[in-house]
């Protein structure tokens, strides 16, 4: 095979893929920062960029699947909070309303006696159920998912408030399961420190287990999206639901599954977050829904559905994270850390325009 044709073929491939634009942009921006920003070319910056997206990245996977099928989920924050409370309370048996209620129901947990299996099951199970409810309301009423989940978001928030007993949860214990979900990834950290940086350097590296989970989930769901009929159905109903249904795609079922996946991932994110910070609030992660949509859109997904990829979602949130670290390290006076969202806003619009341009060029 000659080199030239491979180059052309890979280029064409790139142009056809939703991830192409975002990935190119991210690499370009990363290299730009490497050149112009002091302290950016360090392992601690790189690991910081990756660690900062651990929660939003996991959630964005689900949001991307939904967006490909043409739907929204605005009720993710209360799911994360719900999962945090359930997982946190049950994993260590914190003296909380949850633990006491579950114990009185005869479940194998008591104050001071955590149950890790039950904690994980509840942590991902209940949010998955919440996703199921979203999906069912959607298919039964035919109300746009934006409105359904705007409503359930408020209801779920009230539910979390009741389940939490109106208090935030903090624990001091550190069961091993927390290390598994989001401990320091010292195997990698030590390797990098020893072989790539050198012990004497001031540079640090802080990868966490959440990153492993995030990349694993991205791989899993990318395969699910492109290799299974479920994934094809999502693309089909997002692109043209009527046509999809005519071709025998069971659009309602695929849609409900997508909502359950999004709930499951929100629950997983809740577990990951609790494992690191060991505290959760009722209003945990408020607004993450829009952040996730922003990540998915920057990563090439189309709002109207039928187009997008899980890889793209990862690249989207990473792109935003790269920008944040770069901007803070540049120490601009007009854009202090608290004004970074403004940069995200401009990025969203710019990247959508850029992605559209790229897609049109490749199709024409």
């Amino acid at each position: 095979m000659n080199n030239d044709s491979l180059r052309i073929r890979s280029l064409r491939l790139f142009e056809n893929s939703p991830v192409a634009g975002p990935l190119l942009t991210m690499i370009a921006i990363y290299i730009l920062f490497l050149v112009i920003t002091p302290n950016f070319a360090t392992w601690r910056t790189l690991s910081g960029i990756v660690t900062a997206v651990s929660i939003s990245g996991i959630v964005t996977i689900g949001v991307t699947l939904l967006m490909i099928s043409g739907e929204f989920d605005l009720s993710l924050a209360p799911m994360i909070a719900m999962s945090g409370y359930l997982f946190g309370s049950v994993s260590v048996g914190a003296d909380s309303l949850i633990t006491n209620t579950l114990a009185s129901w005869g479940l194998p947990v008591a104050v001071g006696q955590g149950n890790v299996t039950l904690a994980i099951l509840l942590g991902v199970g209940i949010p998955t159920l919440m996703g199921l409810v979203n999906g069912l309301i959607l298919i039964w009423t035919n109300v746009p998912s934006f409105i359904v989940t705007l409503g359930t978001r408020q209801i779920y928030r009230g539910l979390v408030w009741i389940v939490a007993g109106a208090e935030l949860l903090q624990v001091l214990d550190e069961p091993i399961v927390y290390e598994v979900f989001n401990g320091r990834f010292d195997l990698l950290n030590d390797f990098v420190k020893t072989w790539l940086i050198g012990e004497d350097s001031r540079d640090r590296v802080n990868f966490r287990m959440a990153t492993v989970w995030l990349f694993g989930l991205v791989a899993l769901y990318q395969i699910l999206l492109v290799r299974t009929s479920f994934g094809n159905h999502l693309f089909a109903i997002g692109g043209n639901e009527g046509a999809a249904r005519a071709q025998g795609v069971r659009s309602t079922r695929a849609r409900v599954y997508a909502f359950m996946i999004s709930g499951f991932l929100a629950g997983f994110a809740g577990i990951v977050q609790f494992s690191q910070f060991k505290s959760v609030r009722v209003a945990e992660q408020t607004g993450i829904e829009l952040t996730a949509i922003a990540g998915a859109v920057v990563g090439g997904a189309l709002l109207n559905g039928g187009y997008g990829s899980v890889w793209g979602a990862l690249v989207g949130v990473l792109l935003i994270s790269v920008l944040r670290s770069g901007v803070i390290l540049m120490n601009f006076t007009l854009i202090p850390a608290d004004n970074f969202p403004a940069v995200v806003g401009v990025t969203i619009i710019a990247s959508v325009i850029f992605n559209n341009w790229l897609r049109n060029r490749s199709t024409s």
Binding site: Q170, S201, T286, L329, A337
Partner: protein, 670 residues
């Protein structure tokens, strides 16, 4: 098939991309390292320069510290009482006083306060008093009280020298002791009891003067019928200060015990100084000749303004008809009630009074406040509006615990309202909505006096008493006529915290703020900045947000861009938690940077114990919630008003030294 190839290629490209990304820094790193070493050299140089200066400075600090510690030690050494095993059991308190209701009607009010305080706090009180004024007998009663080993003792320190030994005996047993009605506070008395509850004489004169000067005037006179009495001299000094601040001339006029002679003195003085229009008298014995003088001269309330200390039937009549603007009440009810409450809080929760003197007066009796209080058993509803809550901020669990504990004890219906996240505007709307519920009283956090002004005034106009807690600056500074503010002096907290941290040495101080827009937090940063500037250090504010993972990265990035930052102060658990994460990420230890924080949480306590965090600034949130409910209870049911515009609950510094007492109660009461 096609799809497959695509994926494989894409994965391959991605791996390549990430590999490229991963390799990139290493290449640059080599160049970087050179720079780094240069930087290190530079830092060393700078340190050399600064060190000399710093040593001198630190020495100064230490001197000051030592002085302060001596003062504080007088209290702290003995003031940490033993906490009872079960906070819910009925406490036994003995009150020893030099007089009693049976032979002095003043004491009936004090004892009514004690009884009410006992009822509201689930306490048994035994009152011991001699049959007549007898210092020696009172001292013996104290000794007998100590022998009974109650949970706490309250007493009147009529003679500090005679009482010192018996009181010390109680303190040595770990029994908490407070003084009421008579005393000068632990420092002046030289006895390490917790606090003295009585009138702040200076504040009485000062606040009275402010009220009288509010409508202008040309000259103010302090009519003193007991020249030489130190307490009364303080009243005049406070009044003088208020006059000076208002730009009004001031003079003191001495009269004597003979009312008719005194009336003549007043008349002669007025003839010589016809421009005098503001008069303050020191009690009934000054007010009675004053009314005679007014009568003689044919003066009415339109000609002059009169205010007085203390109360009597004649004074009350004159307040009613408008001749006298106010009577300043030392509130004997509050002396008894407050004595019981502060002992109960100390014995149960280890919560100690913030200052050596707890003011029970001045309480102002005016024409508006002469109405009857609701009575001890009247049903009562309080709405609390606060800018944060337990569901998302650990600090507020303690405040709410204080408020609900007090409400339960005092049989009050308490409703707590708070927005979902920090939102000044939503909080203002909640206040307006709370007023519409027409509760008996409202307690609220004044996070922004300008925004809340209208809403709070609508409550006051509807006749609803209002106190502020946790956030505010007091009615005077906020310009809103609520009753009092219970909380800590935020600026002083930041300033003192900054001084402590600067004394440990450093280059640049950073205030990590997770609640931008909060005026109280802004004051903390301002106080910290002042301390940094005075110590000759750089200062910067760093704003973080609600997402702990993101905030930790933000602090990390900031630290990397500003590696000279080595002093950090965080504004509470909301910024301390990401801060600890940041330290962990960077592999920083207590030797690399110094850290102090506001507020306490289990995690903060653990870090104080391990030496990572120098201190937590404790504003005693339990006391803020409890005290606010109690103050409203006293106002509505007993007609007793808070003495001072600001009722301090902190700052108190929790360090590794006094941590154990606090840690046992962390998260619930501290």
């Amino acid at each position: 098939m096609k799809l497959n190839k695509k994926i494989t290629l894409m994965i391959g490209l991605l791996v390549l991309a990430f590999a490229a990304v991963a390799c990139e820094p290493q290449i640059v790193e080599v160049e970087k390292e050179v720079q780094v070493t240069v930087e290190v050299e530079k830092i060393v140089e700078v340190e050399k320069e600064v060190e000399v200066e710093k040593i001198v400075e630190v020495e100064k600090e230490v001197e000051v510290e030592v002085e302060k510690i001596v003062e504080v030690e007088k209290i702290v050494e003995v003031a940490v009482p033993v906490i009872v095993d079960d906070p819910n059991r009925t406490l036994d308190i003995i009150a020893v006083q030099h007089a009693e209701c049976a032979w002095d009607s003043f004491w009936c009010t004090v004892q009514a306060g004690i009884q009410q305080g006992a009822q509201d706090n689930n306490v048994n009180v035994t009152i011991l008093a001699p049959d007549s004024f007898d210092v020696d007998k009172t001292a013996s009663l104290i000794e007998q009280a100590v022998a009974a080993q109650p949970d706490a003792i309250m007493l009147t320190v009529t003679d500090a020298t005679v009482f010192k030994e018996p009181i010390q005996a109680a303190l040595d047993l770990g029994i908490p002791v407070v003084a009421y009605n008579a005393g000068s506070g632990p420092i002046e008395d030289g006895i390490g009891y917790l606090t003295y509850l009585g009138q702040d004489e200076y504040a009485g004169g000062y606040l009275g003067g402010q009220r009288m000067a509010a409508n202008g005037g040309s000259k103010g006179v302090c009519v003193n019928h007991v020249p030489g009495h130190t307490g009364v001299a303080k009243r005049c000094a406070g009044f003088e200060q208020a006059m000076t601040e208002a730009g009004i001339a001031y003079e003191e006029l001495a009269i004597n015990d003979d009312p008719s002679e005194s009336a003549t003195i007043l008349g002669d003085y007025y003839a010589a100084n016809p421009d005098v229009d503001l008069w303050i008298t020191m009690g009934p014995n000054g007010a009675v000749p004053f009314y005679a003088f007014m009568n003689n001269e044919g003066l009415t309330k339109d000609d002059i303004v009169h205010g007085t200390f203390d109360n009597s039937p004649e004074i009350t009549a004159n307040i009613e008809n408008g001749t006298t603007m106010f009577g300043i009440d030392q509130q004997p009810f509050l002396q008894g009630y407050g004595g019981v409450t502060s002992l109960a809080l100390a014995a149960r929760y280890g919560i100690l009074p913030a200052g050596p003197v707890t003011a029970t007066g001045p309480g102002f009796i005016t024409a508006d406040s002469l109405g009857d209080p609701a009575g001890a058993d009247a049903p009562m509803k309080i709405i609390a509006v606060q800018h944060a809550e337990c569901a998302w901020d650990a600090f507020w669990c303690v405040v709410q615990n204080g408020a609900t504990t007090a409400a339960e004890r005092m049989d009050i219906d308490l409703q707590i309202l708070a927005p979902d996240s920090f939102d000044v505007d939503a909080t203002a709307s909640l206040i307006e909505q709370a007023v519409a519920a027409q509760p008996d009283a409202i307690m609220l956090t004044v996070t922004d006096a300008v925004v809340f002004k209208d809403a709070i005034e609508s409550a006051l106009n509807a006749g609803i008493p209002v106190v502020a807690y946790n956030a505010g600056a007091g009615p005077v500074e906020d310009g809103i006529a609520y009753s009092t503010y219970l909380g800590q002096d935020e600026y002083a907290g930041g300033y003192q915290g900054g001084q402590r941290l600067a004394a440990l040495g450093g280059t640049k101080g950073v205030c990590v703020n997770h609640a931008p827009g909060h005026t109280g937090v802004a004051k903390r940063c301002a106080g910290f900045e002042q301390a940094m500037t005075e110590a000759g250090l750089d200062y910067e504010e760093l704003v973080t947000n609600d997402d702990p993972a993101e905030s930790a990265t933000i602090i990390g990035d900031y630290y990397n861009a500003n590696p000279d930052a080595d002093i950090f102060i965080t504004m509470g658990p909301g910024s301390a938690v990401p801060f600890y994460q940041f330290m962990d990420n960077e592999g920083l230890t207590k030797d690399d940077i110094v850290h102090g924080t506001f507020d306490l949480s289990p995690e903060i306590s653990a870090n104080i114990a391990s030496g990572v965090t120098q201190f937590g600034i404790d504003q005693q949130p339990f006391l803020q919630g409890y005290g606010a409910v109690q103050a409203l209870n006293l106002m509505v049911r007993h007609g007793v008003v808070p003495a001072l515009p600001v009722t301090p609950t902190g700052p108190g510094f929790v360090t590794v030294d006094n941590l154990t007492v606090v840690q046992a109660l962390a998260g619930e009461f501290r």
